[in-house]
């Protein structure tokens, strides 16, 4: 599992810290940030497979805006939305913008792990597809060389 990296974005520090600890304790490489801006800044530097994103974050960018930016920057990164109030409209909007799924707070860790596993599976299969597509392309255009670093995106 250490192959995967997870980013948690939530303005509630107590929640963020504890969730990050618990995921790390389960050998999932997890980082936490407290705002959408921080998340985007960090994603410029590091690659994450799944982002767990709180929708309601007063003060700065809210979850939906952050989601839009993430999808622009890294279309293949899966995003799981967390929401404190069950506003279906916001959640559905999130799904339309390409979120993998959404969960209602408070969420049991077991449920979150199930969702994570599903997201990883999707991400993995997509990665595999991309790899095979690239190999097929290699066969069509022999002599073309790919940059290994970019392949992981």
């Amino acid at each position: 599992m250490d192959y995967f990296r997870v980013l948690v974005v939530d303005d509630e520090e107590d929640f963020l810290e504890t969730l990050v600890n618990r995921l790390n304790k389960r050998s999932i490489d997890t980082t936490g940030v407290q705002s959408g801006e921080d998340a985007l800044a960090l994603m410029e530097e590091k690659l994450f497979d799944v982002v767990i994103l709180d929708i309601k974050m007063p003060g700065g960018m809210d979850g939906i805006e952050t989601l839009r930016e993430i999808k622009k920057m890294r279309p293949l990164t899966e995003v799981i939305l967390l929401t404190g109030h069950g506003s279906m409209e916001t959640s559905i909007e999130g799904m339309k913008l390409g979120a993998f799924d959404y969960l209602l707070k408070p969420v049991k860790l077991e449920d979150l792990l199930v969702k994570l596993a599903e997201a990883f599976e999707k991400k993995d299969s997509q990665d595999q597809k991309i790899r095979s597509a690239k190999i097929k392309e290699l066969l069509r255009f022999p002599g073309r060389v790919f940059d290994q670093e970019k392949e992981e995106d």
Binding site: D11, F15, R22, K25, K56, G84, H85, K105, P106, V107
Partner: protein, 553 residues
Amino acid sequence: MKSSLYTSLQRKIITITLVVSFAPLLALGGTIYYQFARMYREKIEEQIQYRARAQADAVEVFLKERTAILAAMADTHSFREITDEKQLARVFSVMNTRAGAFVDLGVIDQAGQHLSYVGPYDLKNLNYYQQPWFGEVMSKGLYISDVYMGFRQIPHFIIAVRRQEGNQSWILRATIDSDVFQHLVRSAQLGRSGDAFIVNSKGVYQTRARFNGKALSESGINPNLFGRGTTMITREDESGDRALYAGSWLNGKNWLLVISQNASEEMSGLLATRNAEIGIIIAGILAIVLATVFTARMTVSRLREADERMNQLNAQLIQSDKLAALGKMAAGVAHEINNPLAVILEKTGWMEDLLSDEDFQESESLKEYRASLKKIEEHVERARKVVHGMLGYARKMEPRMEDVDVNYTILQTVAMLDNYSRINNIDISTKLSDEIPIIAGDQSQLQQVFLNLITNAIDAVGRDGRIDVTSRVEDAMIHVDVKDDGPGIPEDRQRKVFDPFYTTKETGRGTGLGLWVSYDIIQKMGGTIRLESKPGEGSTFTVYIPVLLPEKK
């Protein structure tokens, strides 16, 4: 609107319509009838008077002819000739042939002695010297008498002329046939009740009246009531019927020819017209009443239906508004509660994770810890279910209707916030009008509004300042100002202050619902809240509450 309002509206519509339609109808009917009656009466009077005049003329002509022929006979015969009875009979025959209507003819000498006579009565050799007419004819030369009995004891009248021959004079006298004269006069009578007769200047019948009197009896008519020429009077007879009398004085004889007519008979045409008109008006009134009542009822019932439909729509609109508002509020509350619940759940999970570490495996209380953490998780789950349930369920919150003393509510609210304001060294002063009436409303909701506004004011001032709460009545609305000397609100934020979840307070301190809820409460009471603020000069929130008086119990 209550049903009594509909009833009174209906009554008003009916009354106004009826008054407006009856007034001209009755005025028109009355005027037309009055004019028609006047014209009709004038025409009838004119007719009777005309008949009286015409008949008087006929009688005059009759008498003139008789007088003329009598005078001619006297002038063309000498005393010797005329006293010869054979000759007299010839003259009598000529007179009756040329003019007619003579009953007898006689010659009387200047001593009153009846010398010769032709006629049915035995009057020869009677002396007329004592008779009133004898003196008249001797002095005037020509005389038409009133009707009198005379020697023959039958009502009659005579025409007499005097002839002067040398130093002696004699009189030729003729009696007029009463039947012919009567017939002549009567020919003017008309209808079932009409009459025509002649009275002398004393009101004595000179001809027999059709209904009430023989010749020479008192007619009861005062001839002095009739003016010169032809005039008209109305009189009530014994049976109470009104009768019209047209009288025309004869020229050359102080006789009055009278034509009478029963007014009610003459007016029967007018009565029929009047009855027809009254019938038409009554029918018209009935039709108008029916149509008005029907139209008014229909109009009011349509109005009522429309109002009911509108009320239903309004109720639906209010309900959906309320549900939307509650939905928003529930979402906000859910967020506020779910976030701490999420933290609690994570912390509990983290503690469970830590308990799995080897250090704790030996602890005797390990089982207890695990059980307690499980319980916490269970209760978090319970709370979560409640909150999620609330999201899908908007509870009905109808405002109550009770007597509310606005001033008392303000004072109570200020007292509640006394500690809070004193800690921050903020002085809350109240200036409340005595004229504020007791209104119908929900006191706890109103208190919520004042609580929100004053708390906001305290938070806006922060420390060291003052808040003025004033109440007054203006334009049938209660105005309550909550004025602070805080920093004020910038113009671009003023429009947002009543939006739900809009807050400038730090996270966890304000939900952004206070002003929104307050606005909602006041709006439901039929009022509104307005904000006046300038940065640096503080803010004033004014609550406008309509004066809705409690129902009398």
